[in-house]
């Protein structure tokens, strides 16, 4: 008798708690609907209109904007820039983070001051983008920036070099800042991933006489796949929306070398004729690109996993 009573009580308690859960989630739902879902729907709507400048009425024109934007050299160039810079930043970022993560989790190496290093690696991520852009802008300043002075002092170059008038130069600087900002965070996530792997697997491999490289490539890497998938997708999403660093560093210059997709979106909406329709169309195209590539990555990585488990 007593047992059933207490059971009933517990059931009622659970029901109550779930009600609180729903209440706690309301602010997020409201915020999401108002500030995310509505703007997204509005943006998609705008991309089918020709709203620009002072105009106020939505005038639907079908898929014209999409056809137009896919033939727009500036936008295509902006997409290309985005991919180039993202690639130049992501590949070294993943490699360096992976190597560091391997070192820092290896029991045989045992690095001293591990916590300190982790903090130092993560530090650039804490600095705001604006400060970083200003810092690098004056570091690579022309003609009297510190980098130029050092290079001249050590006779690497004879004349001061104008980094921000060189397309590859500026792209490398932007990619480097992105790399430097994010490798720490990637490193910490990878560390967590490696430490999450069952240590008995490593021990067993060692007892069987596997070399370090064998262990790394046959145990660590495959088991890191879910984490790598997460890093890849978040980095892709972030990379395709790259805006702050290139915008604050040179505003997209020289000659649009670091004008990313998001800078294009911004420029269309807030400079010139204020072509909201183009800006909206470009955003939707970016969204589709991110979705398609994320889906591909997701699919490819998971297919591999199925093979492995078979």
């Amino acid at each position: 008798m007593e047992i059933t009573k207490s059971k009933k009580k517990r059931k009622a308690g659970i029901a109550n708690y779930s009600k609180y859960g729903q209440m706690f989630i309301i602010p997020f739902i409201v915020g999401f609907l108002l500030f995310q879902l509505y703007p997204i729907i509005y943006t998609i709507t705008l991309s089918f209109t020709d709203l620009a400048g002072w105009e106020t009425e939505l005038n639907f024109i079908g898929f014209k904007n999409y056809i137009h934007i896919l033939h727009n050299d500036h936008f295509l160039q902006a997409l290309k820039n985005t991919w180039i810079i993202w690639g130049m930043n992501f590949i070294p970022q993943l490699l360096v983070a992976l190597i560091l993560a391997k070192w820092f989790t290896d029991n045989a190496v045992k690095i001293k001051g591990e916590g300190l290093f982790k903090a130092i690696f993560y530090l650039p991520n804490i600095i705001t983008a604006a400060s970083l852009a200003i810092l690098f802008n004056s570091l690579f300043g022309f003609p009297h920036g510190p980098v130029n002075q050092i290079l001249i002092h050590f006779n690497v170059i004879q004349e001061p070099f104008e980094f921000f008038r060189s397309k590859p130069g500026t792209r490398i600087i932007v990619a480097f800042i992105q790399f430097w900002r994010w490798y720490g965070s990637t490193f910490i996530i990878l560390c967590a991933g490696i430490m999450g792997i069952n240590p008995s697997l490593f021990e067993a491999a060692k007892i069987d006489g596997a070399s370090d490289w064998k262990i790394f490539s046959n145990i660590t890497l495959p088991l890191l796949k879910p984490i790598t998938l997460y890093i890849l997708i978040t980095s892709l999403v972030g990379g395709m929306q790259m805006f702050d660093i290139p915008f604050l560093l040179t505003g997209g210059g020289p000659d649009y070398a670091v004008e990313t997709g998001m800078i294009y979106v911004y420029n269309q909406a807030f400079t010139g004729n204020r072509n909201f329709y183009m800006s909206a169309t470009a955003s939707v195209v970016l969204l589709v690109i991110i979705m398609v590539f994320s889906a591909i990555i997701y699919y490819v990585m998971n297919r591999d996993k199925r093979k492995v488990s078979r």
């Binding site: 999401f32 500030f35 995310q36 879902l37 703007p39 997204i40 509005y42 943006t43 705008l46 620009a52 400048g53 002072w54 105009e55 106020t56 009425e57 939505l58 727009n72 050299d73 500036h74 004056s138 022309f142 003609p143 009297h144 104008e162 008038r165 997708i233 999403v237 972030g238 929306q241 805006f243 210059g253 020289p254 000659d255 649009y256 998001m262 979106v265 420029n267 269309q268 909406a269 807030f270 400079t271 010139g272 004729n273 204020r274 072509n275 909201f276 183009m278 800006s279 909206a280 955003s283 970016l286 969204l287 991110i290 979705m291 994320s294 889906a295 997701y298 998971n302």
Partner: protein, 447 residues
């Protein structure tokens, strides 16, 4: 099932991330009103105030200072004045939605030369003629009035200041390298762009490259652009005046032969060379003398100063740079207050005289300029009377090339000017890139 669910979650996450990036402006609701054509307007007294706060938007604290120190002090107002200062970079993107929706919009707002026309030709600014301010009857400099006059003859704004530009050079350096130092002797040596180029060569040669005639090409572009016949847009058609190509040519010559100091405007080096001997002179307007040159003439580290060593001449061509116009929002509820403010700031001669004497700012009001111009003698310019000279220069200003899109088109042009002068592109490519970038930003124009 789990996989599908997680994919959905990923997509939602992506949506929300992308969503953050998109900021679209709120949707304005008013309908387009057909602009009236040049016919005489019905004049009526400004409507009485319906609110208790006059909201003024501006992009510098200059206007804020004037309102606080003069207008509010000298007038007994039965309403509050709220001055909102929005940085120039964000000014238009803040102002446009406010005007469009009419919500939290200013009653009076300031506009800068580079985009003033955009607002004057819109329906959001009030024709001052309807309130009894007739442009032909007020003692304001012609170019200042021209800027505020639309194609349909409406008169949309007024300014208290005029901003003719001059060339400021260092007397000691002129004596050393050109052999003369007084303005009347130096002006003939810089009277047109050919002579200016000659002088640039002489200065570079005689100083062994220590001193350059300008800091960067940016200094020169304003003057060249003012010398054009056609602005960027003529009858809604994008136009490149022959002067622009000339500017590209001379820019290339200056860059290739090392006649500039390679320091862009508003950079540290640009300011720094105002207190050392690297740069011979600067193209600056009225406000540039007070707020740029004077404030940077002293070297912060060594304490050395170039004050008193400067002189001012017209240089190769008359031009103007910047300037702030005041305009009233159509549909304001504080019509009387807005009218009073603009009237006081631009036409009240008592205030203007006091303000000119105190600040040295050059005014658009001809009567006041006539009265005060002979009383000036600036120590900074070794006793030269800048006011009387500006008054002369202001007469030569032609503002017809100004358009509402100058700010953006100038930026797009400067990028290609740089690419061309630095040898990254040939002229055809640079001009082509320029046109295509303008096309991208202004698809609404004819090409």
């Amino acid at each position: 099932m789990k996989r599908v669910l997680s994919l959905v979650l990923v997509l939602v996450m992506l949506f929300s991330l992308v969503g953050c990036g998109n900021t679209t402006t709120s949707e304005p609701t008013e309908k387009e009103v057909k602009a009236t054509t040049g016919e005489p307007v019905e004049v009526s007294e400004p409507a009485a105030n319906k609110g208790d706060t006059l909201v003024v938007w501006t992009f510098t604290d200059e206007l804020k200072g004037i309102i606080e120190n003069y207008y509010e002090k000298n007038n007994d107002l039965d309403y509050e004045i709220e001055v909102v200062v929005v940085p120039n970079e964000n000014y238009q993107s803040k102002l446009d939605p406010a005007l469009g929706s009419g919500k939290a919009a200013p009653d009076v707002f300031a506009v800068e030369a580079a985009y003033a026309k955009k607002y004057f030709s819109s329906k959001y600014t009030k024709d001052l003629r309807t309130m009894g301010i007739e442009p032909t009857e007020i003692p304001i400099m012609q170019y200042v009035k021209d800027v505020a006059t639309t194609e349909n003859g409406e008169f949309k704004g007024l300014s208290w200041q005029a901003t003719p530009g001059a060339y400021f050079y260092r007397r000691s350096l002129a004596q050393k390298y050109l052999g003369v130092s007084e303005p009347e002797d130096v002006q003939p040596l810089l009277a047109d762009f050919d002579k200016f180029y000659e002088a640039a060569l002489t200065i570079k040669e005689k100083s062994n490259g220590e001193t350059k005639i300008i800091s960067s090409l940016g200094d020169l572009t304003k003057v060249f652009k003012a010398d054009r016949k056609d602005g960027w847009i003529v009858d809604n058609k994008f136009t490149i005046d022959p002067k622009i190509e000339e500017l590209m040519e001379i820019g290339k010559k200056f860059t290739e032969e090392g006649l500039t100091n390679d320091a862009e405007q508003w950079t540290e080096t640009w300011f720094a060379s105002m207190s050392n001997d690297e740069v011979f002179g600067y193209f600056l307007p009225t406000w540039g003398l007070h707020y740029v040159l004077k404030t940077n003439a002293e070297n912060a580290n060594s304490g050395e100063t170039t004050a008193g060593d400067w002189a001012m001449v017209q240089g190769p061509a008359p031009y103007f740079w910047g300037g702030t116009w005041l305009t009233i929002r159509e549909g304001t509820e504080m019509e009387q207050a807005a009218y009073d403010l603009i009237n006081y700031l631009t036409l009240n001669e008592e205030f203007l005289t006091a303000y000119a004497k105190e600040s040295g700012d050059f005014l658009a009001n001809v009567n006041v300029v006539e009265n005060v111009k002979d009383t000036y003698s600036d120590e900074f310019l070794a006793g030269q009377n800048q006011y009387a000279m500006f008054a002369e220069m202001a007469k030569g200003i032609d503002a017809t090339t100004m358009t509402g899109s100058d700010l953006d088109i100038d930026d797009l042009f400067d990028e290609q000017l740089m690419a061309y002068t630095k040898g990254e592109k040939n002229k055809e490519d640079a001009l082509e890139s320029f046109t295509s970038s303008v096309k991208d930003a202004f698809p609404n124009l004819d090409y």
